[in-house]
């Protein structure tokens, strides 16, 4: 079902264990209502991809995912012919005495021999509800693909020379994400509803961890979140995202920790920091300082039920 107000989106997301602020909820709501793609930017690990997954759950529809990489082309994004089967078919037709070339051509270039890649799948979905199409990490693809996508997003049709044009009955719900390792062209972004997902505040991150890992003790969760929040103030190459907070909490749970202590922090820092320089910088002295601040913050954190 399509939500009818921003509040409903917030509630529905929460029911699917995704904590969103009003800005993001408004962007999602308008994307659904106006039939526009949603363009999500932000640092890695702030939950951009998750939005698409939750959205598919929430709308009760299928999620089709296209992971972008450099050199992504039509053959891996839209369609490809199944050559092996085509060759086999030619041999079989030959054995059956088929001499008419145009008939051979017609047979082997039919939809039966088409391998459907994510974008074509998204256009061809015909089960009443449009699917959610996730185009993940668009910044990794090259400009040629971006230009192709721009065309697709405005027409919702793809031409396959051998068959003809495939047009979407209902355009899919599109979510595009970018880590901003390069700028995506404005023309594409203007077609979308743009939202920048920031690192969450203490309260929001606390709610996220509670929602995702309800089995973690409340006290530990507070401390973990306060520690990560302090860590983000440091001058690091890669600041930990929410994904890292969740990983770390899960790691601490697996170790049966009920609260943070300096030793366990040093041992599990690898779950939070992904650069050796950052680990060296934080381990020991700095971690102890952060912990002291975090414990203080965790005690007096306001606004938590």
């Amino acid at each position: 079902m399509v939500p009818t107000s921003v509040e409903e989106v917030i509630r529905a997301l929460q029911a699917h264990r995704y904590i969103a602020d009003r800005g993001l909820a408004t962007a999602i709501f308008l994307a659904l209502r106006l039939g526009r793609p949603l363009f999500l930017e932000g640092e890695p690990g702030v939950g951009k991809t998750e939005v698409a997954k939750v959205l598919a759950d929430l709308l009760g529809t299928e999620l089709i995912r296209l992971q972008c990489y450099e050199g992504l082309d039509v053959h891996s994004a839209v369609y490809e012919w199944d050559y092996a089967r085509q060759i086999l078919q030619i041999r079989m037709l030959e054995a059956a005495g088929e001499r008419e070339l145009s008939r051979v051509r017609q047979q082997i270039f039919s939809p039966d021999f088409l391998i459907r890649r994510p974008l074509l799948q998204a256009l061809e979905a015909r089960n009443g509800r449009p699917p959610v199409l996730l185009i993940d990490e668009l910044d990794r693809a090259d400009e040629e693909f971006e230009a192709f996508l721009l065309e697709l997003l405005s027409d919702w049709q793809i031409t396959i020379p051998e068959i003809g044009t495939v047009r979407a009955e209902q355009p899919p719900v599109v979510v595009i994400t970018s880590n901003r390792t390069r700028e995506i062209h404005d023309a594409l972004k203007r077609r979308c509803l743009y939202f920048w997902i920031d690192y969450p505040t203490f309260e929001k991150e606390y709610q996220i961890v509670r929602a995702r890992l309800p089995e973690a003790p409340e006290r530990l969760t507070r401390q973990v979140v306060a520690f990560v929040q302090e860590l983000r103030r440091l001058d690091l190459y890669k600041v930990p995202g929410v994904a890292e907070t969740l990983d770390w909490t899960a790691a601490l749970l697996a170790l049966d920790q009920t609260e943070l202590d300096p030793v366990v922090i040093d041992e599990t820092l690898g779950a939070l920091l992904k650069y050796q320089d950052d680990v060296l910088k934080v381990r020991g002295e700095v971690a102890r300082d952060l912990l002291a601040k975090a414990l203080l913050q965790a005690e007096r954190a306001p606004g938590i039920p």
């Binding site: 408004t26 709501f29 082309d73 012919w81 390069r182 743009y194």
Partner: protein, 400 residues
């Protein structure tokens, strides 16, 4: 929708544009359509709807917030944006304050503004065999001695320089008669003409693309005499190649890529002058590289970038930090080139602390003091090896 509101919205769009946020009519239409779905009396909902429909760049969000706050406090008021509204917009580059200096870049400072510099002793050119046509003289003249007319002439010469950096292989394939991979699709299609017999094979090969070029140029006091020419060089470079990112640094790092996009060089350099606040001050190369590595490296060093640092290596900052950041920078780019204007002087030895710290992590150490050296650089870029050179491990090297 009420006529008044619509009129305010149109004016709001215009105000945003005046503040530098490029809002298109298409985006305005989307915004107006969006308003049908949200309760208009709800200021917060109105704000979020405007934000996700009218802004499409992260760096514009802060400006949008300020303009929104100012405009909708009293939309009837009208008038121009008050000066200062956008001045204090927080940005990643505005962390520390610096002594501002409204410099006119591209023009020498007024003579009475500073004590006269003692004339540098004339430099004897090693190569006397060349012809003495005016162009030839210009090619070997040191940048710091250029007059205004000579700069103009030099610009014309620089515009003729071709910058063909050795290209990188992408993962994208394209038809190539001598390629290394079979193009099954085309081969199969053609085979139908011969009853499925693969009479002729078609091939594909990797497409080649230019590498991005990132330039970090030192504009501190010791580099002042070269800065003018170098900025002209950067401007020429930005206009002859795509994918050039330019930064300048002294005590802080400033990105000037957008300033240099102006076709007109004087306008471009004025824009740079407005943006950069640490002209002719001290140098903290380590700190500036740190900021670059942290805030920009991931965004501009993809796709096998070539990085050029232009500096004389006089550094008043933390040497250990410089060493660490150089190592990281070298590891994250395809080729790290250091251009030193002093290297063109006879008898120069890179003995300064900063230069010593940086040297182990540099792939190429080249002079940049006259036009001939730029030609040399262009030739060198064209011949870069297809693989990156072996990287040293800094932890071992740091002890040297």
């Amino acid at each position: 929708m009420g006529g008044y509101l619509l009129r305010h919205i149109v004016r709001f769009g215009r105000t945003l544009r005046a503040a530098g946020v490029p809002v298109t009519p298409g985006q305005m239409m989307t915004f107006v359509r969006a308003l049908a779905w949200i309760p208009i009396g709800d200021r917060e909902a109105f704000y979020h709807a405007a934000r996700c429909t009218l802004v499409c760049r992260h760096e514009d969000l802060a400006v949008f917030d300020r303009v929104f706050e100012w405009f909708w406090r009293n939309p009837l008021m009208g008038g121009a944006i008050p000066p200062g509204l956008l001045q204090t917009a927080p940005g990643p580059m505005r962390r520390q304050e610096n002594r501002p200096r409204p410099a006119e870049v591209g023009h020498p400072p007024a003579d009475d503004a500073r004590p006269p510099r003692p004339e540098a002793p004339p430099v004897i050119l090693a190569d006397r065999a060349m012809t003495y046509s005016p162009v030839e003289q210009l090619r070997h003249k040191q940048f710091e001695r250029f007059s205004e007319e000579e700069i103009a002439a030099a610009r014309r010469l620089m515009a003729c320089l071709r910058w063909r950096i050795h290209e990188r292989e992408t993962r994208r394939l394209r038809p190539a008669p001598k390629g290394g991979q079979l193009d099954v699709r085309r081969t199969l299609r053609r085979s139908l003409r011969h009853h499925g017999e693969w009479v002729r094979l078609f091939w594909r090969d990797h497409k080649r693309k230019p590498r991005p070029l990132v330039v970090l140029c030192d504009i501190s006091g010791s580099m002042e005499r070269y800065a003018r020419m170098l900025l002209h060089f950067l401007h020429a470079l930005s206009h002859t190649r795509r994918h050039v990112e330019t930064f300048v640094f002294g005590t802080r790092l400033t990105r000037i890529t957008r300033c240099l996009r102006h076709r007109d060089v004087d306008e471009a350099l004025r824009e740079v002058g407005r943006r950069v606040v640490d002209w002719s001050g001290g140098t903290r190369i380590g700190e500036c590289l740190h900021v670059f590595n942290r805030d920009w490296a991931r965004r501009v060093l993809g796709r096998g970038a070539v990085v050029m640092i232009i500096s004389d290596g006089w550094d008043r900052g933390d040497v250990a930090l410089l060493r660490r950041e150089m190592e990281r920078l070298q590891k994250s780019c395809y080729r790290l080139i250091w251009l030193n204007p002093l290297l063109g002087l006879p008898g120069y030895q890179p003995l300064t602390r900063g230069m010593q710290a940086a040297l182990p992590f540099i792939d190429d150490f080249l002079p940049v003091h006259n036009l001939a050296s730029l030609e040399q650089l262009a030739a060198h870029l064209e011949r870069l090896p297809p693989r990156r050179s072996a990287r040293r491990s800094g932890l071992v090297q740091a002890a040297v």
